[in-house]
Assembly symmetry: C2
Homo-oligomer: 187 residues x 2
């Protein structure tokens, strides 16, 4: 951030009076431009003993497999945002959605809210951001070719719960320890 | 938003190619400035049969009673953000925190994540944003003088769960129907 989005003047990074963090503050009009985490909202579309995965047609991780998910938009709830993403990425209609997990990812300033839900009629087809969509059984999940650590973690937890027949809402933190190491903290 | 925060040129509200929503786009450098919901994270500090409430020393709702909560910051998890808010607003140390609720509030572009947790040693005192803090039993909660609908809803659910002895993670949507009417949708 270099300029004030309100008046167009230069901004300076400083700790405003009464605050304890650096913020971009406009040199002219004094507006404080806060920067905060984004919510990514998505879902596990279920159809019988299978779930729906999408092959990414966009970067990052072009060509990897993922669950439908994307940035929550203003004016929507996180659940309806997850349903919207399933529609946009896989022409998939989700029903009977339940909150499955809430994971913070501090190093990229994101919070993932993931819902599981029934894929209506088992129907899906690739949207603009997907090369391909596929209904997969547990033994068909491409574990080594999934998009992001939070997606791997969500699916691990999902299959654990499914085995036990006892679903709960999971939450925690995905922590990057170094370039190669991710640690998942369960609260 | 009037100006590009990257190059300082004017922005125009338009639907970018491949998108389906209006965004502020820079007339010069073409950067798309997405605007997304914020996470507000907070907690219910428990001490025996009491919980901690704070009297707001800031607008909006100056003087009303609330739970410690505030905007999640970059680089933190929603749980540690909730603990930070308890410390800032009430000098309260929270332990053994559990995710209690996740409510979207679409008309103000917010998602509330609320945790319950043990108030360490039952100790608290007003921080800069609080006029007063108080440990209250259920029959002392000032229901008509609470800050926001999401706080009222959180506390209603909390006391229901406490009565049953069975806590779960609640989620849903706080919907403003008109100036005077709030509807809570439970998923």
């Amino acid at each position: 951030m270099n300029f004030c989005s309100s008046c167009g003047s230069k901004v300076t990074l400083l700790i405003p009076a009464g605050d304890n963090r650096h913020r971009f503050v406009c040199d002219e009009c004094g507006i404080i431009h806060y920067q905060n985490p984004n919510v990514v909202t998505g879902c596990i579309p279920e159809w019988g003993d299978k779930i729906l995965l999408c092959k990414r047609a966009i970067e990052p991780k072009y060509g990897s497999w993922t669950l439908p998910a994307g940035f929550m938009e203003n004016g929507e709830s996180s659940m309806l945002g997850a349903a919207r993403e399933a529609m946009e990425e896989a022409n998939a209609e989700l029903r009977d959605m339940k909150l499955f997990s809430v994971f913070s990812i501090p190093h990229i300033n994101q919070v993932y809210t993931m819902y599981r839900g029934v894929l209506h009629k088992g129907m899906a087809s690739p949207g603009d951001e997907s090369l391909e969509v596929r209904l997969v059984a547990e033994n068909e999940v491409p574990w080594d070719d999934l998009s992001f650590p939070v997606i791997i973690e969500t699916l691990k937890l999902y299959y654990e719960d499914r085995k036990s027949g006892n679903y709960s809402t999971h939450y925690g933190e995905i922590i990057r320890l170094d370039q190669k190491t991710i640690h998942v903290e369960h609260y």
